[in-house]
Structure formats: C-alpha cells, structure tokens
Symmetry: C2
Subunit: 366 residues, 2 copies
C-alpha cells in the first residue's frame, strides 16, 4: 500500500483556514481507519499569487497538480485582483479544462439541527446531488481566458458547447453514482435536467441521456426542464436524488441547493476526471474574514471525505474509503448531538472549534 | 380616446381557458374604471395549429400581431408536437425576436394566505421583479430555429449574445421600473445579476449597468452573481426588488421565485419592446387539464393587468391604468379575505370560480 499523494492549493482568503482544518481531519481519519496517511505537495496559486508573482499558479504547478493522485483546493479569488475585462483570476477553471474534470459532484444534504429554509418538514429529508458537468457547457468560453468573442464595444458572445464524448461520460457517471447511492439506502435515481424544449444542444444532451440509460436498466430516471427544476427544488426537493446537468445550470442549482440546507458553508464538491480528481469547498474565499477563526470548515472537510472516498476507489485501498465514512459519520453525529454549532448557523463555533469537534467525533464513529 | 386593439393568441391547452378568463376580467375592469374596452383580433398559433396546418402561426399572423397595440398570449406547446431535434414549436420565441421584446417583467409577490414555501415569516414580504432580458443572451441561438451549430452527431454549440444596444435599453428599463415601484411605496432598488467573475459577456453586461446607473443617481443598486442570487432567493428574498439579468438566468430565477410564492399559477409576465408588448402567464399549456375548469387563471389575469398598465402608458389613457389597478387590488383583497382559494394551493376553486371571485372583487376595489 502506497501513500496517496495530494497536490494542495490553499489559494486565497479562508481557503488557507479551511484547508488546514481539512488536512488535520483527513490525517486523523486515516490514522483512525488504519489507512495510509496522504503526503502533501503544496502548490502556490490564486489571485494573491498572481498579484505577487504575475502568474496565477507557480511555474510547473499545473503539471505537478495533475501528477498527484488528487488535488485539494481551498478557495481562489480576491475582489481586488482581476483580469482587465473584470473576470476573476481562475487557474481552477484551467485545471478543470486541462484534466477534463467533467463530473462535478455537489451533494446537498439536510443535516439534523442545521437551519431549514423550507417550511415543509419533509425538507429534513433532503439528500440529493447536483452532478454539474464541469468542463464545457457555457463554461467552454471561460475555460481558456480569451475564448469569448468580443466585437468592439458593441457585443460579446460566449459559446455553450455540449459534446457527445463528455456527455456520455457524464451520464454514465450519474447512473453509477445513483446505483452506489441506492446501495447505501438512498433514493438512487437520476433526473436529467436540461432545456431540451428550446435548445438543440440540450435536446442532444437529453438524447445521449436516453442512450446511456439503456445500459442501466435498473436505475429509475426522470426529466425536468431547468426552470421547472429550480421551482421543484423549493417545492419538493426531498423527492430528488442525482440530478445531472450542464455546467452553468449546475452552478446555479447547486448554490440554490446549498441555500436550502443552510448555506455555502456546507457545500462540498468533487470534480472528477479520467485520471485525477479535484476536491474543494464550493464557497468563495471570503478574504474579509481570513484568519479570524470564523470560517465554517465543514464544506472543505466534507470535500476531504469525498477525496478519501475517491482515493479509496482509484488506489484500491478500502481503508481510505473507511476514513471517508468516518468523517461523514462524525459530521452527521456531531449535528445530531448538537456538538456542531457553526457561527454561520447562528451558533457559537468558529473554524477551530468545529475542526476539534469533528476530530473528537472520528473515534466515536467507528 | 380610441379602443385599444389586442392581438390574442390563445394557443394550446389551458392557454384557451385562462385567456377566456382574462379577457372577461379585462373587459369588466375597463367598464368599471370608465376605460375604453379593448377590441380583440384572434390569431391562430401554437403547436396544435402546427399539427393542423403545418405552420405554427396563421398566415400573416406574425405581422398582424405586431400591428395591434399589444399581444396577449395564453400558452403554447404540446408534448406530442415538436421539431425533429426535439425542441418545441415556438412562435413565441420568434415574436420576442421580431418585435424586440427585450424587457421580460416577471413579478414575484407573496399574496396573503397563498402558500409560503419558506419557513422565515419575513417571506410574507416578498415583492420583487425578475427583469429577464428576452431577446438575446443564450436564447439568441433559439430565437430563430436552426441557429444552433450542429456538428454531426458529436457536438452542438449555442451562442450567448450580449449586445450593447439591448443591454442599455434593458438596464434603463430596470431603473425606470425601480423608480416607479419606489413611488408606489415598494423598495425600489435594482440588483444587477450576472456572472461577471467568469464571463466576458457578463462583465460587459455589468459595465453597461454601471454606465446606465449614472443616469439614475436616485436609485439604489446592488450586484449579485447568479449562483449567489439563487441562494439569496431562498435565504433573504424579501430584501430584493428589481433584479435585472440575462435571458436564461431570468428563466431559471423567475420560476424559482414563482415557486417561493406558491407556484406558476401566479406567475404573470410582460415582455415589452419599443413598439409593442406581449403579455402572458409564464406557466405552460398543461394540455392534460385543458377544459376541465382546473387551471388557475390568476397568472393570466395578472398578466392582463400588466397589459392594461402598459396600454394606459403607451396610449396615454389613465383609465386603462386604473383598470389595471382594480384587477391587482381585487386579487390582493381576494386573497386577504380568503375569497380566492385556487385548487393549486389546496383550495376548492377552479378556473371559473376564481374568475368569478375576481370579477366580484372589481367593484369593491374602487
Ligand atoms: C468561482 C467560479 C469560477 C466557480 C464556478 O462558477 O465554477 C464557483 O462559482 C463554483 O461554483 O465553483
Ligand atoms: C417555453 C419556453 C420557450 C419559455 C422560455 O423559456 O422562455 C418559458 O419557459 C417561459 O419562461 O416563458
């Protein structure tokens, strides 16, 4: 058994705080589960890096990130450091593109005692995943800075791209994920979310969904237009499980889902490709509270669990998957026993206290 | 004073039911307010028309629609009648394009006793407008059927377009609307909703917002990325007023907003251009319940009120605006007194009963 190697980009703002918290939890969970503790290679990148060094990732950093078994990213972005056209410095978008990180997994789960936005008590049963295609769709234009078409000062065009190759992989991923979730006692169905009534590209997205579906006859499926899906997410989100969709749609609906179950402080994210995966909290870098022990590290910690689960599979080391389960169980039990009370939810716990509570919970969750 | 002339497209499914209900209410409101009763020219169009006649709008219908003072549209679409690529028959998209109906006004308002999805009691104060650009953005590709780029069976591309000309008009519309709303005692501020951190086209959208803003120094403004906006719509929607955004974003967020305040049965919509306006409920054609007295006609009736308000302004006939106010007051008072109980909200009233209740309320709302 070899040690998994993780490329770590702490990035900007609270990216640093939540990454430190996560690596501590990951190490402890691996030790508790008898798994190899990962080794970490830090890579400088982000808006701060750009301001200091004139490039958004250190030399050779992009290559080194791809050579590791997985990439962990804290958060990137500073409001004061931007491209001339106003868009953000984003080596992250380039990493998604370069390593084909097509499968953006964004779980949305209501934890006990976490704030519920919806009045209906069934909202306590929200447990779904936005599967956001993460390399093309509308972001095709933004993956490589400068791909937008600028026509003087009178017009700008962006391109939304749906390719068969990526969409086939994406849908197959959705079906496999639904199966896995069903085995764990969850709903385990897939909803294809698109706008096939209007866009040829979306009708194509749905057509490929139907083709791939034929290979997974055991998985229940549904369809929803993206506008109706947004409505259903506030009307009956507890009925959905895996929802697969285009990049921009996934960006919007995953934040909406995050809002339903408390906020972005719980929004974990995995972006998985054929040869590596990138794991990051879906929240921003909140530079105003950096280093103040205020950030909720749970989105990052849960992303760390997704990373361990991924490593367990790809390196064929079940102990790593067991470590992932420990983290998830510690968070679940922590909320249930009211030992996790993030400030973000009106509680009294900052970054360190939350991290300590999760660490303490790892041993209980055997 | 001349009679306003309305081009009426009842369309498919419940489009017929809710249009009939609306015209009855419009006529009665005009009579009660001492306004000229409109004259109506019916135009055959829709998926049913396509199935029967091989074209989606009757010959000369598109031109005649544009010659009237306004267009009222019930609903269009039948699941069984589609283009070969799976997209829907949509003369509506063509009308938006042809007549430059750039300003899609979609009010989102919590009526008393209507169901609240959100647990926070402040949700009773939701009263905002999604201003959806309605001719370009991502729909640029779909406005004219066949504009999508199809690359064999391996890829489809769509184009998102943000033009200076349209965006300037859109933002100016947003500021005027916010002013008007402030005069009526509402919040009266504008939030620019975009994804300016990623897309050059969206940074351009925001840049033009800032330019136009200089002409309206009295109007308070804010910015929000579309993903954060989706989250804020479930976290603190009562803080927003006019939210101006790209076409696809507006499609998604207006349905989300509709969901917050009960469902699409309340979702009124105006699409306004330089020379005419189109008014329609934002819901679909629900052919399964057509003619069964089940559809909630309130979205259509409230769209009728938006139409009268528009006609009052453009024809300079204040009595028409007074008729619009009567309808809005009748709906508001009807909910407050529990005289409006749509089936859609778990109540006992179908299309006819709701229409009658609004009609009865018109005289009280003097
Ligand atoms: C910061 C931005 C590039 C990013 C995205 O839109 O993908 C973020 O919003 C996210 O959801 O991960
Ligand atoms: C049916 C469709 C063309 C339409 C749209 O997306 O514009 C509808 O969803 C709407 O919101 O009016």
């Amino acid at each position: 058994m070899r040690r998994p190697e993780i490329a770590v980009i702490k990035g900007d703002g609270i990216g640093v705080d939540v990454t430190d918290a996560t690596l501590a939890v990951v190490d402890a969970a691996c030790a508790a589960a008898g798994a190899e503790t990962p080794s970490y290679v830090e890579i400088g990148a982000g808006a701060g890096h750009y301001a200091a060094h004139g490039r958004d990732i250190e030399e050779g950093g992009e290559e080194r990130a791809g050579e590791a078994d997985a990439i962990f990213l804290g958060a990137i972005g500073l409001p004061s450091v931007r491209h001339r056209d106003g868009t953000e410095i984003s080596p992250h978008l380039r990493l998604r593109d370069r390593y084909g990180l097509y499968a953006g997994v964004r779980p949305i789960k209501a934890y006990p005692n976490a704030p519920q936005r919806l009045a209906d008590p069934r909202a306590a049963g929200i447990d779904m995943v936005v599967l956001r295609e993460s390399t093309e769709g509308l972001f095709y234009s933004a993956a490589v800075h400068g791909r937008s078409e600028v026509i003087g000062d009178s017009e700008v065009r962006e391109t939304l791209r749906v390719s068969r190759a990526t969409t086939e992989k994406l849908h197959a991923f959705a079906f496999r994920l639904a199966r896995k979730r069903r085995e764990r006692g969850k709903r385990g169905r897939v909803t294809c979310v698109d706008k096939a009534n209007v866009f040829t590209a979306m009708a194509f997205f749905r057509k490929i969904f139907d083709e791939v579906k034929a290979d997974f006859p055991d998985v229940e499926t549904g369809y929803n237009y993206v506008d109706a899906m947004a409505l259903d997410m506030v009307r009956r989100p507890w009925e959905f499980d895996v929802m697969v969709m285009e990049n921009m749609f996934g960006d919007i609906l995953s934040d909406l889902g995050g809002g339903l179950v408390g906020g972005m402080g719980m929004a974990a994210c995995a972006e998985i490709g054929d040869t590596t995966g990138l794991f990051q909290p879906a929240h921003g870098s909140a530079p105003d509270i950096m280093g103040e022990d205020k950030a909720n590290p749970l989105a990052a910690i849960l992303s760390g669990a997704l990373m361990l689960e991924y490593l367990g599979e790809t390196l064929d080391q079940p102990q790593l998957a067991a470590a992932a389960e420990r983290i998830e169980a510690a968070v679940e039990a922590g909320f249930a026993a009211n030992r996790l009370r993030p400030m973000e939810f009106g509680g009294d716990m900052g970054t360190r206290a939350i991290t300590d509570a999760v660490l303490a919970g790892l041993d209980m969750a055997a």
